[in-house]
């Protein structure tokens, strides 16, 4: 019962003219200011009284934040302010990064996706974030503007805990960049919610693979949602799928390893045990689907 007073508290809306100004402002008002994209997490947290920010810092319109660009030699860059419906509709995403569109489509509803962003999903750092797994397995790298200028931050190691990342005061993610993906790749995101549309993931499994010179003939990447304090990469399961010829047994073994890697909690949406069991089942299914798509 955490909602004694719904209705947004008072705050100031700030729109800095440049990234440097925005970074400075955020750093100066550490703990009381936040960058804001779609606001679909921010406003809910504020309304529920969890966040008591004095300033909402709108950086959506700054340099390139609203652009999607694709370059066949360097890859895809999605500006932080690009909403999920635009990502889903982008021909380049559909052709070269279909997994990202598949994952984004599972987020809430069309209405929500016309505001929600991928970068917001990542920066919010919920273990349930539906697009995070796709970004991890496809090697997403964040472009960050901080007090010391621009830098790149890979997603590996980015998440520290629920709602916590390695971003520092003053840091603004300006875009997420994806490398050109290897030939013949395929991916799958399976989300399990209590209802067909709009529930957060009880469990989410992302699987991704491409042909490679390995014992299985593929390199496999996996990511799991809602089963640990942070989005989880079950490395052992990835190794099994990469390091052994693919058979039903290998897949089952990898699914078991994925299950063993996770450490979920009980909550109103499902018990820890159910979640673990579903990780095993859905990993098996996601990997199988990826293999079918690889052919």
């Amino acid at each position: 019962m955490h909602n004694p007073r719904p209705g947004l508290p008072e705050f100031d809306y700030v729109r800095p003219a440049s990234l440097s100004e925005a970074s400075r402002f955020l750093a100066e008002h550490q703990g009381e200011a936040r960058p804001f994209m779609g606001g679909t997490d921010t406003f809910v947290r504020m309304r529920d009284g969890f966040w008591k920010e004095k300033y909402i810092v709108d950086v959506k319109r700054l340099d390139g934040m609203g652009d999607i660009t694709f370059d066949p030699s360097t890859g895809l860059t999605i500006g932080a302010a690009v909403n999920m419906n635009r990502v889903i509709d982008s021909p380049e995403v559909q052709e070269h990064y279909p997994l990202l569109a598949e994952a984004a489509k599972t987020v809430a509803s069309f209405q929500l996706r016309s505001r929600a962003t991928i970068v917001g999903n990542i920066c919010n750092a919920s273990p349930a974030g539906d697009t995070i797994g796709a970004c991890i397995v496809m090697g997403g790298v964040l472009k960050v503007h901080g007090l010391d200028g621009e830098r790149e931050v890979p997603l590996t190691g980015f998440f520290v805990g629920p709602g916590k990342t390695v971003l520092k005061p003053g840091d603004i993610v300006t875009a997420i960049r994806f490398p050109v993906l290897p030939q013949g790749h395929a991916g799958r995101y399976i989300k399990l919610g209590r209802n067909a549309l709009s529930d957060l993931a009880i469990v989410g499994v992302t699987a991704f693979a491409y042909p490679d010179d390995t014992p299985s003939g593929y390199r496999f990447k996996l990511a799991l949602a809602s089963v640990a304090p942070v989005p989880l990469v079950p490395e052992k399961a990835e190794e099994i799928l990469t390091g052994k010829p693919i058979t039903d047994e290998t897949i089952a073994e990898a699914a078991q390893a994925a299950m063993d890697a996770c450490n979920p909690i009980d909550d109103v949406r499902g018990s820890a045990r159910y979640r673990k069991y579903m990780v095993r089942n859905l990993t098996r299914r996601a990997v199988t689907d990826v293999l079918n798509r690889l052919q």
Binding site: M1, N3, P4, R5, P6, G7, L192, R194, N195, A196, L197, S198, D199, L200, M259, V268, R269, G270, S271, R273, Y274, K276, Y277, M278, N281, L282, R285
Partner: protein, 741 residues
């Protein structure tokens, strides 16, 4: 031939609603209104030692703060007055300082804005002494639990029993006996429009409350009683009502709105007040469907004839009575199904706990009773190797067969016809009983398994058990030579079901005028008397008769040249009798509707998810006055029952609600509901119903949960005696989610 009855005319409220003109309680604003905010206890059981409002009162913009000492009669309730309006010291009723559930109200702030009111509410300091929480109804009645209400031994709020024949003498004559313990869940009404209202003193000096409810007259009585004022000094008006389903039968904001106006007036302040509950306040602040534990044993002969049934019902009433005693009565009637059983023993208890209050909810105890009865029937059929439809037909009530309370049913009994209709239209075929799934020797089930299930039910229409059911209406005909306008005054609440449209149809039919001549004046105690509650599937039947009669009287006055011709009628339903305290013998009701359902499901054995692919629902509605509205009720009931059966999961831990909003408490969305519903309208006219109509708003709900459970059994061989049948429960039953995982 009727002209307007039986036609799916456009609803009288359609245009206003789709164009956004219609005012719901939260939409009504007054220029100089003040706002109210409630301080809820948010703890399940505690004594309030002190309340300090000084800091809150000092906040600029706060006009007043109401606590227990400001309530003239600090005790109210629909059935019995057992709930404080405001909990706290200084209450003039015994036990008024004790909080008994999270939704008990402690103080009401009156302020210039909602924000200030909320801020002030957070500044109120309440000193609580927590008391032991009683959250298990079986423990509550065990004799070891603390007593939650003065003078209520073992927390037993109500007890009913039925004794017919002697089950103990026939158990050994039964070829099969099925014994089970069923557990049914809470359910939240989840109406779109949360509780809200405005109040002021009208030009006639009445404290006037605009709100959404189910029975204006009863709201007026309860407000008057709590304020210690004569009812005629209180006026209740319903704005448009955004769903009710029973959840608005009991008071929510009505009394405090009136109390605030009174308090202000006593201080020379004459300003309207307004309140809107948010979703969390609504979910903790109003009642839920009763969770019940039903322990039951049924026996049948080898030919399928039912011989005996023994039932113990333990209903969790929550903190206060609300309608628990009446709900229990309905569960008693439905727990042996629409079947004749010669030997019956029923013991039924409604028990106080510190859980969220239980109260009225579509079906009113029927869904719980029907679940137990129909599960027993399906299990018996499986054990006998018999077609469950045939088993039902063999035992179905007919006009000359007696209910478990010893009497026959008046007004026609079409149970067998309705069962046949549902079986026929669903192409029901019995291909042999499926064996039970044995988790020790698991079958190799494919990923997707389908199954079909069947269930039947009956639902009473109207308040009864000895209560003299009545409903009032007035018709005024204006014009010279021809009727230019017919004003129909009724109090019945249009909660979204289309009640007012149906009343307009009946009036137009009787008066022989076009619909556009009818003007409705509704739901305002200033000029309407009691049409009774929008519940118990009763309004079409009861108010329909009143309107028909008033229209007939008015028409004869019109024909006798009276101008305007005004007539009113209070229609009285046939008499019923209360439960005999020893045997339960009674004439419980004067009318019923009959329903049967076939459900097809697919179970995903990997995730445990159930989808319902098809529902065939046959309903005897007597006469469909507006067929499209009837179909709307059938589909709506099925969707709501679908949530109850599969998805909705109201979770309470030690009296605290874990699912107080719509992100934690999920109701079915458009992608979750059954893929296909065939609504079959059966019309076996009721001799007392207007144009033969029976009530029907609840009955399609009743057989759904057991029909789904039977279909799931057909698919995977597991009986679910507890629901919602969540994916996790399915996988556990299949032995897939094990404790050591």
């Amino acid at each position: 031939m009727t002209r307007i009855i039986g036609k799916s005319i456009k609803r009288v409220d359609a245009l206003g609603k789709v164009t956004g003109q219609t005012l719901y309680p939260g939409d009504r604003d007054f220029e100089n209104q003040l706002w109210l905010k409630v301080l809820f206890a948010r703890r399940p059981h505690a004594r309030i030692l002190s309340i300090d409002t000084s800091e809150a009162e000092a906040l600029p913009g706060v006009v007043g703060i109401l606590t227990a000492k400001d309530v003239p009669v600090n005790q109210y309730g629909l059935q019995i007055p057992d709930q404080p309006v405001l909990c706290g010291p200084g209450s003039n009723k015994k036990g008024g300082d004790v909080v008994r559930f999270v939704g008990d109200q402690v103080a009401v702030v009156i302020a210039e804005s909602e924000e200030i009111a909320a801020q002030a509410r957070d500044l109120i300091k309440v000193e609580y002494q927590d008391l032991p929480v009683v959250d298990d109804p079986e423990f509550a009645r065990s004799g070891k639990a603390p007593q939650l209400h003065p003078g209520v031994l073992n927390n037993i709020a109500d007890y009913k029993r039925v004794r017919k024949g002697n089950p103990d003498a026939v158990w050994d004559k039964c070829a099969v006996v099925v014994e089970s313990v069923y557990r049914t869940p809470f359910q939240e009404h989840a109406y779109l429009q949360p509780e809200a209202g405005t109040a002021y003193i009208d030009e006639a000096g009445r404290i006037t409350v605009h709100c959404a409810g189910q029975w204006t007259w009863e709201d007026q009585q309860q407000i008057a009683q709590a304020l210690d004022m004569p009812p005629e000094k209180i006026r209740v008006v319903y704005d448009a009502i955004g769903g009710a389903f029973g959840g608005r039968e009991d008071m929510s904001v009505q009394i405090i709105l009136a109390l605030a106006v009174k308090y202000l007036a006593e201080r020379g302040i004459y300003r309207p007040v307004k309140i809107i509950w948010n979703r969390e306040e609504s979910i903790i602040g109003h009642c839920k469907r009763h969770p019940m534990i039903i322990k039951t044993r049924w026996g049948a002969q080898a030919n399928g004839k039912l011989l005996a049934a023994e039932v113990e019902i333990i209903s969790d009433a929550g903190a206060y009575m609300y309608t628990s005693n009446k709900v229990l009565g309905n569960t008693v009637i439905t727990c042996t199904g629409p079947y004749e059983i010669p030997h019956v023993k029923i013991d039924a208890y409604a028990v106080y706990t510190n859980n969220v209050v239980s109260g009225a909810f579509r079906g009113f105890g029927g869904p719980q009773g029907a679940f137990a009865a129909e599960m027993q029937m399906n299990k018996l059929a499986q054990k006998l190797g018999m077609d469950p439809v045939e088993l039902r037909l063999k035992n179905a009530l007919t006009p000359d067969k007696t209910l478990s309370v010893g009497t026959t049913i008046p007004g026609g009994v079409s149970m067998a016809q309705v069962i046949r209709e549902a079986a026929w239209k669903s192409d029901w075929q019995f291909t042999g009983a499926r064996p039970e799934f044995n988790p020790n020797y698991p079958e190799d089930l494919p990923r997707y398994v389908t199954g079909r299930g069947f269930a039947a039910g009956f639902k009473n229409i109207g308040f009864s058990f000895g209560y003299q059911e009545n409903s009032w209406a007035q018709v005024e005909l204006r014009g010279g030579g021809d009727i230019e306008e017919a004003v129909v005054r009724i109090a019945g609440a249009d909660v979204g079901q289309g009640h007012h449209t149906v009343m307009a149809q009946i009036a137009a039919e009787v008066l022989g005028v076009e619909l556009d001549k009818i003007r409705l004046e509704v739901s305002d105690t200033a000029f309407t008397e009691s049409s009774g509650s929008a519940s118990a599937s009763r309004l079409t039947f009861m108010a329909g008769n009143a309107v028909r009669e008033a229209a007939e009287f008015a028409l004869s006055k019109w024909q006798a040249e009276e101008r305007p011709a005004i007539a009113e009628a209070t229609w009285l339903a046939p008499k019923t009798t209360p439960f005999d305290p020893e045997t339960g013998y009674c004439v419980p009701n004067f009318a019923y509707g009959y329903v049967a359902e076939m459900v097809e499901v697919t179970v995903d054995t990997e995730t445990g998810f159930i989808t319902v692919d098809r529902v065939v629902c046959a309903d005897d509605v007597g006469k469909a006055i507006n067929p499209e509205q009837v179909v709307g009720q059938i589909e709506g009931a099925i969707v709501q029952a679908h949530g109850y059966t599969i998805l909705e999961d109201f979770q309470v831990h030690k009296g605290r609600v874990l699912t107080p909003n719509f992100s934690t408490y999920l109701i079915p969305g458009v992608y979750d509901i059954p893929q296909h519903v065939d609504s079959i309208i059966v019309e076996d006219p009721h001799p007392d119903g207007p144009f033969g109509a029976r009530g029907m708003g609840e009955m399609p709900y009743l057989p759904y949960a057991p029909a789904v459970a039977a279909a799931v059994y057909d698919a995977i061989g597991v009986w679910f005696d507890q629901f919602p049948i969540t994916p996790e429960r399915v996988l556990r039953a299949l032995g897939k989610v094990r404790s050591w995982i």
